[in-house]
């Protein structure tokens, strides 16, 4: 018989293991979802909404503990702390000051944020939990309209299994490139500030353009991003190494049987050899992106990448190294490891919201923490007919963001700009 007070604990999934080892104030490995509602946020209802969501998604009600060889999760008996947003987005979550939680819910005006430490889950699963909070919040603040929903419970089905271990291919050979990437050059913003610039794009216009160019939205935006980097940073600094664009991939699409709420993502890395392949115009870059996507976004290639990473984390020699040594080694080598990517662009796609709740929501945002090497990170999510493409940056220069915006405007796409004001003076907000 189970002891009532027995503490729940679980291992970190294969991909999550690296984050607590490498994370710190400079590498927070935190991502954020925000929902902009149409009314001012009520903190008390928000707290209740989070507590209710945690009852369903118990895998988020955990704290991180130190083992001798690996970290692990343990049930967290405390209530989460809900605060007004004060700091820059995606900052390192000091869980000792956060009732030990690995996510942090904040609010500002009409916006609800959740910052999630990547060890806990990935973007797609984090979004499920966030949506549950939003549903609960809307129900609690509009009890009359949601009388029926308050009486019943939405069903959620998930597991905390390590889907990497379940699905990786032991015989797959690693496809990791050994060539380092071009690293964005420029002075960093002082006082550890983070710039957040949101480019709100009309999806109908963007889709029409992509149809014309015979590519997907992610392919098109990837090409615009590489082109903007090339024009504003690569050319000016006479770059030599390839621009490498890392695109996270949701593995649930390839393994539909997985119902895990833990991390289950892999990535593809586009390698744009700007000089060698003479990629000096947008048309050439778009053509390259389409071909490289076709080459890399295959089940076989993605399984290879995933399996390579699983095998590394599963290596018996690595497993028996004490955690403090793992931490020291990873932190020392992390600056070098990160040099294999120029920039990351994560597109979580359309945020599906139940129809009845839609009128209460203005839009969704997604942000990823930038790092000393990957000084800019990009993310996108779509709600209704608005896609919000976000640049989070520690680079004291927003010319890449500006070029990206101007390029889309030149193509006749409606784009609006919102930002946290850190680098505002450089960007035009006029349409």
């Amino acid at each position: 018989m189970k002891k009532e007070n027995k503490l729940y604990w679980r291992r970190l999934d294969n991909s999550a293991k690296i984050f607590p080892i490498s994370a710190g104030k400079k590498y927070s490995t935190v991502f954020r979802f925000s929902a902009v509602l149409k009314e001012e946020i009520d903190p008390e209802s928000l707290k209740q909404a989070v507590i209710l969501a945690l009852k369903k998604y118990k895998s988020f009600k955990v704290r991180m503990k130190l083992g001798v060889f690996w970290n692990y999760f343990e049930d967290n008996p405390k209530d989460p702390i809900i605060e007004e947003e004060k700091d820059y987005p995606c900052k390192y979550i000091d869980y000792k000051r956060n009732n030990n939680y690995l996510f942090k819910v904040t609010y500002y005006d009409q916006k609800i944020n959740i910052d999630i430490f990547h060890s806990l889950t990935d973007g797609n699963n984090g979004n499920l939990f966030f949506r549950e909070i939003i549903y609960n919040y809307i129900e609690l603040t509009h009890p009359k309209e949601f009388e029926e929903e308050l009486r019943t419970t939405r069903k959620v089905e998930y597991t905390t299994e390590d889907s990497y271990m379940k699905n990786y291919d032991k015989s797959a050979k690693s496809n990791n490139s050994s060539q380092k990437a071009y690293v964005l050059k420029g002075e960093k913003i002082r006082l550890a500030a983070v710039s957040a610039i949101h480019e709100i794009i009309d999806t109908n216009e963007l889709k029409a353009l992509c149809q014309k160019e015979d590519c997907t939205v992610t392919q098109y935006l990837s090409a615009v991003l590489i082109y903007s980097i090339y024009e504003e940073n690569y050319k000016k600094n006479n770059g030599e190494k390839p621009i490498k664009l890392c695109i996270p991939v949701n593995l649930k699409k390839y393994f539909p049987n997985s119902q895990t709420i833990s991390n289950f993502f892999s990535y593809i890395t586009l390698e744009a050899e700007m000089k060698k392949d003479n990629l000096n115009t947008f048309e050439k870059i778009l053509d390259f992106v389409k071909k490289d996507f076709k080459k890399r976004l295959t089940e076989e290639e993605i399984i290879k990448t995933m399996s390579g990473n699983v095998k590394l984390g599963n290596n018996p020699f690595i497993r028996v190294v004490p955690l403090f040594l793992k931490k020291a080694i990873v932190r020392l080598s992390y600056l070098e490891i990160r040099k294999y990517t120029t920039i990351t662009f994560s597109n979580v796609g359309r945020i599906g919201i139940i129809g009845k709740y839609k009128p209460y929501i203005e839009c969704f945002l997604m942000l990823i923490a930038p790092e000393p090497v990957e000084k800019i990170k990009c993310s996108a999510c779509t709600f209704e007919d608005k896609m919000v493409f976000t640049f989070t940056s520690i680079l004291n220069d927003n010319s890449i963001e500006k070029r990206f915006y101007e390029f889309l405007k030149e193509q006749g796409i409606k784009v609006e700009i919102e930002s946290n004001g850190v680098l505002d003076e450089f960007i035009s907000t006029k349409n």
Binding site: W9, S34, V36, Y72, E74, R97, N100, Y108, A192, G421
Partner: protein
Amino acid sequence: MNLYPQKINAKKTDFIIKIAILISFFVGVGLVFINRFTTPDIKWAGYCNAGIVYVWITVLYALNKNVNIASHLFIQMVALSALCVYFDIRLGFQAWSINLAIPMIVIIINIAMVILSIASYSNYMRYAFFQLLIALASLVPIFLIYENLVNDKTLSIVASGISGLNLLMSLIFHFKDLKEEIIRKFHI
């Protein structure tokens, strides 16, 4: 849309702590100079600086909210013992630290752990790992007896007995918790 706060504050607490540590450092250095120039025969600045370091260890630890009580007891046990040994050495080593102070600390901490494990029986799992660490650190008086470093063995024997009893009680009443904690901490 008004998406972000206009004025984003830095972490005030961290800044204040850093400033206070910096001030403490300069106070410590100042004390050394005052000691040198006023009463060079009595090395009192060393005691003051040791006190400052001790205070900071405990203050910084206490500042981290949600401190696990057992972990706090363990830290106090180690820090206090080290401080006593330091003072004893600076005062010409009359061995009062190992004869009296360390056994006393071991006794107090182990009694506190017994009370803690009784008072919070249902939460024992949270303290299990620190119980083991305290049991390990409580072996110091036995080691001192074994190495014949203790003149008056009474208190050390009492301390060893109490820590042994504490460990035995834990094993009897919380064996499953301790076992699971060991599996959890040492999982590969």
